[in-house]
Symmetry: C2
Subunit: 430 residues, 2 copies
C-alpha cells in the first residue's frame, strides 16, 4: 500500500510551527510497512489543498491529512476532502455527544457544532483531548483519506487509539514495537554488534541515537498481537544479549525512571551533590512522579565554600587537587551520603564550558563519583572530538551519574570504576 501525508496549516508555511505531526504519522505508517513517498505541506487555502489532495489520490491509496479540523473559519480540511470525495457532510451523533460533554454547561457556538459534521460514510475517530474528531473518509472503491487533528497532544492519542486499529483492520496485521534502551555505547558500535540482526524484514531492528543515548527498536507484524509479540521476542532477546549490560531497559521511559524504580525496589535513598550539572541531575530524578520516596535532598554546590560547608570537602583537598578532580568528586559523593543522610551519594564536578578550560583540565572534563558504604566508584568523562556544548556536556554527565547508580542497583560489574581509596576518602561517620 502507498500512502501520502498532507500537512495543512499556514503556520507551517510561516515557520511558526515545526511539522512534528508528519514524523509521528510517518512512524505509524512505517511500522505497517506502508510506503510513504511524499509529504506535502499547504496553507489554509481550499484551492491549494484540493490540488494537493487530487495529486496525492492519483498516486496513493491512503492519504493522511493533519490539521485544519478545528472550529475556526480557516479550518477547511474536512470540507475540502468531502468535496473531493463527493460526499455530503452529515451530523455524527457520537461526535456531537462528545462535544456536548466536553463543553458541559458552557455555551457552544455554531462554529463549535460544525466539528460534529463528518463526510457521509466516514468512520469517526474520537478526540480524547480536544474538540475536533478525526475520521477515515472512503474515496471511491478502495481509497481512504484520514483526517487527523494538528495539535500533537490530540494527534498522538488518536494515532494510538484509532489510526493503528484502523490500519490493523485494513492490512489484517497487528504491529508491535519494542524499544531497547542503552547507555554507554555509540550507534556505530551497536550497529556493528547487531548488523546481522538488522537485516530481517519481519521482525525488523533499527538503531536510533538521541541525547547521548542509543536505542534499538524491534518491530514485528502478525495476524494478532500475540503472534507479533511471539515473532519479536527472539529478536529482542538476541539484541539484548549482544549488547549486554549497556541495555538499561526494554520499553522503559528513561534512565532516570529505571533508577527511581530501582531505588524504590531496594528501599534506598540517594543524595546528589552537583557542581557543573547545577541541579540537572536532581531535576531529572524529580521529573519522575514518586521520586520523593527515594530522593529527599539534592545539593547544588557551585562554590568551593559550599562544597566545604555542606559536604565537608576539606579545603586542603580543594587547594591541592582543585574543584575539578577525582578527589573532590569523591569527597562530594561521600559528603552527600554521610552528611546529608543517604544510602548512596553522587558527586559531580567538571568543566561544562564553553570557558574555564586549561590544557590539563579541558572543557568537557567531568568527574562523577558514587559513594556507598562499601566503596567509591568513579567515572571520568573526557572531551572527545568536537566540543558539543554546555547543554550536551551537562546532560551527558547527569546520565553517567544515573548509569553509575543503575549499575550499582543491578549489581553489574563496575571494575573499571572501582576506587578502593581515592587518596582522600572521608572516613565513614565523618
Amino acid at each position: 500500500m502507498k500512502a501520502e501525508i498532507i500537512s495543512v496549516g499556514t503556520e507551517l508555511l510561516l515557520g511558526h510551527t515545526v511539522n512534528s505531526d508528519a514524523a509521528h504519522v510517518a512512524r505509524e505508517l512505517a511500522a505497517f510497512g506502508i510506503d510513504l513517498e511524499h509529504v506535502q505541506t499547504v496553507g489554509d487555502n481550499a484551492a491549494r489543498l484540493e490540488a494537493a489532495l487530487r495529486e496525492a489520490l492519483s498516486r496513493s491509496s491512503l492519504v493522511v491529512c493533519t490539521g485544519g479540523l478545528g472550529p475556526t473559519d480557516d479550518d477547511l480540511t474536512k470540507e475540502t476532502v468531502a468535496r473531493v470525495a463527493g460526499l455530503p457532510l452529515v451530523e455524527d451523533a457520537a461526535s456531537l455527544a462528545r462535544l456536548r460533554e466536553y463543553f458541559g454547561t458552557r455555551p457552544m457556538g455554531e462554529n463549535q457544532l460544525k466539528q460534529a459534521l463528518l463526510p457521509a460514510g466516514a468512520e469517526a475517530f474520537p478526540n480524547s483531548v480536544g474538540t475536533a474528531p478525526g475520521c477515515a473518509v472512503p474515496v471511491g472503491a478502495d481509497k481512504f483519506v484520514l483526517l487527523l487533528p494538528g495539535p500533537p497532544s490530540e494527534l498522538l492519542p488518536m494515532l494510538a487509539g484509532s489510526v493503528r486499529p484502523f490500519l490493523e483492520r485494513r492490512t489484517g496485521e497487528v504491529i508491535v514495537s519494542t524499544m531497547i534502551r542503552t547507555f554507554g555505547i555509540g550507534e556505530g558500535a551497536a550497529a556493528e554488534r547487531i548488523s546481522d540482526l538488522m537485516q530481517g524484514s519481519n521482525p525488523t531492528a533499527a538503531t536510533y541515537a538521541t541525547d547521548g543515548e542509543m536505542f534499538v527498536r524491534v518491530t514485528a507484524k502478525g495476524a494478532s498481537e500475540a503472534e507479533a509479540r511471539a515473532l519479536a521476542a527472539p529478536l529482542v532477546g538476541a539484541v539484548c544479549e549482544r549488547l549486554g549490560d549497556v541495555v538499561y531497559g526494554v520499553d522503559v521511559p528513561s534512565l532516570e525512571a529505571v533508577v527511581v524504580a530501582g531505588l524504590t525496589d531496594a528501599g534506598l535513598h540517594l543524595v546528589t551533590a552537583e557542581s557543573c550539572t547545577g541541579g540537572l541531575l536532581a531535576k531529572r530524578i524529580t521529573d519522575q512522579p514518586g521520586a520523593s520516596a527515594v530522593f529527599e535532598t539534592g545539593l547544588v554546590t557551585y562554590a568551593n565554600s559550599t562544597k566545604t560547608r555542606l559536604l565537608g570537602v576539606p579545603e586542603e583537598v580543594l587547594a591541592a587537587h582543585g574543584a575539578v578532580s577525582p578527589q573532590t568528586a569523591s569527597w562530594m559523593a561521600d559528603g552527600a551520603r554521610l552528611r546529608q543522610g543517604g544510602d548512596l551519594g553522587i558527586g559531580i564536578t567538571g568543566i561544562a564550558g564553553p570557558d574555564g578550560g586549561t590544557p590539563e583540565k579541558p572543557v568537557g572534563l567531568v568527574y562523577i563519583a558514587l559513594s556507598a558504604p562499601d566503596g567509591i566508584w568513579l567515572r571520568v568523562m573526557r572531551p572527545q572530538g568536537r566540543y558539543l556544548g554546555r547543554n550536551w556536556t551537562r546532560q551527558r554527565a547527569a546520565s553517567h551519574a544515573l548509569d553509575l547508580v543503575r549499575r550499582r542497583l543491578a549489581a553489574l560489574p563496575m571494575e573499571a570504576e572501582r576506587r578502593e581509596n581515592i587518596g582522600a576518602r572521608a572516613p565513614d561517620g565523618a
Copy 2:
C-alpha cells in the same frame, strides 16, 4: 516572489527525523515577504526528486532544497538539480580548498571530493560546520534553486551567513528582526493590547507563545540595515510601551539570562531552595555560563526533614500549614538567604502532579517566595483550566521564581506580591 521548499531524505519519510529545516527556511522566506505556498518532502530517490523539482519550478521562481548534499551514494540532490537545470557539475576551487582544510592530514576519498563539485555558474555557500557546501543554482533566465545541507547545525549558519545575503541581493532588501520577550501575559491578552500595531506590512509585528512565555517579533525591511532598523525602532518602542513591565527583554536569550546578568550587575548572590521544581530552577540558572559569579548554592529540599535541617523551616510551621503553603515557601526563602548566605533567597513548594492533590491543595498549586532583607514577596500559581502536566507546572513555577527576581532587580512594582509578615517569618539573623 513565490518560493517552495523541497525537503530530501528517506529518514523524514520514515519518521526518524522531524523536519525542522523546513520551519527554519520558512521563517527566512517569511521575513523577506516571499510567499511560500508548498513544502514537499521526498526520499533519497532521483526520479521522485526530479518530479518534485519540475513541479516546484513550474509554480515558483525560487526553490529551496534541504538535504542530500553529503558524500554518500544516496546523496543525490545536487546531481538531480544540475540535470534539471541542464548544467554540468564543475569543480569549485574555493569549496575544494575548504574541504582540504577540513580534512587536514586525514585521507579524503573520492566520495568526499565530489562535494566540491557544483553546477556550473552556481554561487557557492560555504559550510562553516560540516563538509558539504551549499549553493544557488540559476535555472533559466530568472529562477533559482538553493541547495542547503540537511543537518540543522550546518543549515542554520548557512541561512544566516549566505542565504540571507543572497536574498538581500535578489530582493534589494535587508531584513531586521527584533524579538520582544515577555513573562506574565497570555498571547490572547497581548494580541488584544497591540492588535492595531500588528496590522502593518513593513514593519510587521507577530506574537508567538511557547513554554508559558509570549514573544512579539518585529520585522522590518529596508534598503540597508540602518534603514530597516530605523523603520523597526518606533514599532518596537510602541509594543514595549503597550505591554509594559511584563517585557523582560528585547533580543535577549532567556529569562534566566536576564536574571543572571541582573544579579551580576547588582553584585548580588541568589540562593535557591526548591521542593516541587526539584532542581529545575538551579539548572536553568546554571545553564548560563558565568552563573558562578552570582550563584553558589542551590538546595533541593524534597523532604520535610531536609527543609527543617538545611533551611530551618520549623516543624510546627510544616505541621500547622503543610509543606505546600505560603508559610513554608516563605520560611524556605528566608532559610535559603539567611542560613546559606545569599543576598536573595527563593523558596518554591507546590504540587507538580500528576498525583498528590487534594480539594484544598489541588495539583498545579505552587507557592513561590522571594526573601530579601526588606521583606518577603510571594507568588501563588493556581491551576487554571486543564492540568498541563508535571513538566509544564515545574517549568512555569521556575519561570515565576525568575520573574520575581527580575522584578526585584529592576525595582518594578511588586505590590501584588508584597507580604510584610507572612505570619511565620524567620527573624533576620536566625
